[in-house]
């Protein structure tokens, strides 16, 4: 049984079980309240699923790609929850959770703000039912997206889908994703010339 968290788009928290399926899921597509809702969502998911932290086998969390600030809230919460419960964290590429239901080749696309998009290319599912990621995740302007696959836009990532994918990955004995958050942008893109200095004050 897993607690699953994804904050790469809105906020989604679920409790899933390989045999019993989705026991609870709470989601919002609000992209500004990750830090507020993460607490109540975890509490409610555990309560609805009627499980304690000790009964979980791990915490699954989406590593993005996604806008930095929100993405980090889920990762921080997952790591801290797992730390407190003495359980491992397993990482899943958030786009994989969207692709887990797509059997035909597809380009999964989510909003990266600043008129850019996150994308990942998939070629359906493998024999274990896991999405076959062939390219990406990447960051692109809308007119520069890779072509050749049907575009699949998503506004949300379901933590239940992510959790079930983690269970399937575990069952198939496959590797989880790297723990590295998929920011896909360097941290200094927001620095203006004014703060990097060197400007004269007198003309």
């Amino acid at each position: 049984m897993l607690l699953a968290i994804d904050t790469s788009a809105g906020t989604s928290v679920a409790v899933v079980d390989r045999d019993a399926g989705v026991l609870a899921e709470l989601s919002t597509d609000d992209t500004r309240r990750h830090a507020e809702v993460i607490g109540p969502f975890i509490a409610q998911a555990l309560e609805q699923a009627d499980v304690t932290a000790q009964r979980l086998s791990a915490v699954a969390v989406g590593t993005g790609p996604g806008p930095f600030t929100g993405l980090r809230v889920g990762l921080a919460a997952a790591r801290a929850f797992a730390f407190g419960a003495g359980k491992p964290v397993v990482h899943v590429v958030s786009h994989d959770a969207i692709a887990a239901t797509l059997t035909a080749p597809a380009l999964v696309v989510t909003d990266a703000r600043r008129r850019e998009l996150y994308w990942t290319a998939y070629d359906g599912l493998d024999a274990d039912g896991l999405p076959i990621r062939v390219d990406g995740p990447g960051l692109a302007k809308p007119d520069e997206l890779p072509t050749g696959r049907e575009r699949h836009d998503a506004a949300t990532v379901s933590a239940a889908a992510l959790g079930l994918l983690a269970e399937a990955t575990w069952a198939a004995g496959r590797d989880f994703a790297s723990s590295e958050p998929l920011y896909l942008r360097s941290p200094d893109v927001t620095i203006s010339a004014a703060t990097t200095g060197g400007r004269r004050v007198t003309q």
Binding site: A35, A43, R72, G74, A76, G84, T190, V201
Partner: protein, 347 residues
């Protein structure tokens, strides 16, 4: 029964702090700083700080428990900084603290960072006496508070209307090519300088400014004045006396900070002044504060330096005060509030 053990998490700026206290006893104070990563930018880059908080989170928690020699099962409550500070940085701590409190099944106290700086002093040997004026100076804030009661009655007397004092140190250090962080760099350069050689302006100290901004600070004009002075020298093809410029700049900052803090003590009849924040590491600030406090008959309190810089122990200490006073925990749906007012001690 011994006092409750509280674990505090602080991520409001560039230090990831985890502290553990038992009531007013300090058990651990572990700080991971992303300072080095900001060096090439010459100032704190919020996104760099936030990324570093996430990476430092579990290692810092682990080390704090080890140093305190307690286990997770011993923790009675969790406390976290919910503001003020850098929004993205605060959110890492808030998200983590909520999840940690839930997994431990323990209450969570969301507290004010600035009041936390004052709360750090309950961990000192001597008991914190109230009311007190508190001067909190760092790269993120420059605030003058009147604290009548640590958890109930904190008033903002004044604050910076532009740059924080620590920020001014960083900017002037960069201007003089002295490196980052600016505080220690300016201090080293100023050691051989004459603080009276160049008189830089003292912001908001003129009578007309004092009417509206008696306890407020401004360092942006000072920074510009230093830049002008340096550029004029350079344009004339003359050498810049870096030591004198650094000493004169530092003197202007220290003069205004201590002048206004002591004025608050005198005006309000509060004979106590507490210093907090990273800039307290500046030796000249401590010296001048001590001289002026002595002259005014004000008792000066300076917590140990590792409790002055941003840290988790001060947040744990404030959380422990709230818990001891029987305050209800904060619930789980509070936000990270980058502009949380000091009057809100607990969210």
């Amino acid at each position: 029964m011994s006092a409750p053990i509280v674990l505090g998490i602080e991520t409001s700026c560039d230090e990831t702090g985890v502290g553990i206290v038992r009531g007013t006893e300090l058990l651990a104070n572990v700080i991971a700083s992303s300072m080095d990563e900001h060096a090439r930018y010459g100032g704190v880059v919020p996104e760099v700080a936030a990324r570093a908080h996430l990476e430092a989170l579990t290692p810092t928690l682990t080390e704090a428990l080890e140093r305190a020699d307690v286990t997770l099962a011993d923790i009675d409550a969790v406390a976290v900084t919910s503001g003020p500070g850098l929004a993205g940085a605060l959110m890492v701590g808030v998200g983590a603290a909520k999840a940690l409190a839930l997994s431990l099944g323990k209450p969570l106290y969301a507290v004010n960072h600035l009041v936390g700086h004052v709360g750090a002093d309950v961990l000192s040997e001597e008991e914190l006496e109230l009311p007190t004026v508190a001067l909190l100076v760092s790269g993120g804030h420059t605030s003058l508070l009147l604290v009548r009661d640590l958890i109930d009655d904190v008033e903002l007397l004044g604050e910076t209307i532009d740059d924080a004092a620590g920020e001014a140190f960083d900017k002037v250090a960069r201007l003089l090519g002295l490196g980052y962080p600016g505080g220690p760099a300016i201090d080293r350069a100023a050691a051989d300088g004459d603080p009276t050689a160049i008189r830089f302006p003292r912001g908001l100290t003129q009578p007309k400014d004092l009417e509206r901004h008696r306890y407020d600070f401004s360092f942006s004009g000072l920074k510009t004045a230093v830049a002008r002075w340096v550029e004029k020298r350079q344009d004339a093809g003359e050498d810049v006396p870096v030591a004198d410029v650094a000493a004169g700049f530092r003197e202007a900052v220290v003069d205004v900070l201590t002048q206004k803090a002591i004025a608050a003590c005198t005006d309000l009849g509060v004979p106590r002044l507490l210093l907090g924040g990273g800039v307290v590491a500046n030796r000249r600030l401590r010296e001048v504060a001590q001289e002026r406090a002595d002259a005014a008959g004000v008792a000066l309190r300076i917590p140990p330096l590792d409790l002055c810089t941003d840290n988790g122990a001060m947040i744990a200490a404030l959380g422990a005060q709230l818990a001891a006073a029987g305050r209800a925990p904060s619930g789980l749906d509070f936000a990270a509030d980058s502009t949380l007012p000091v009057t809100t001690v607990q969210v």
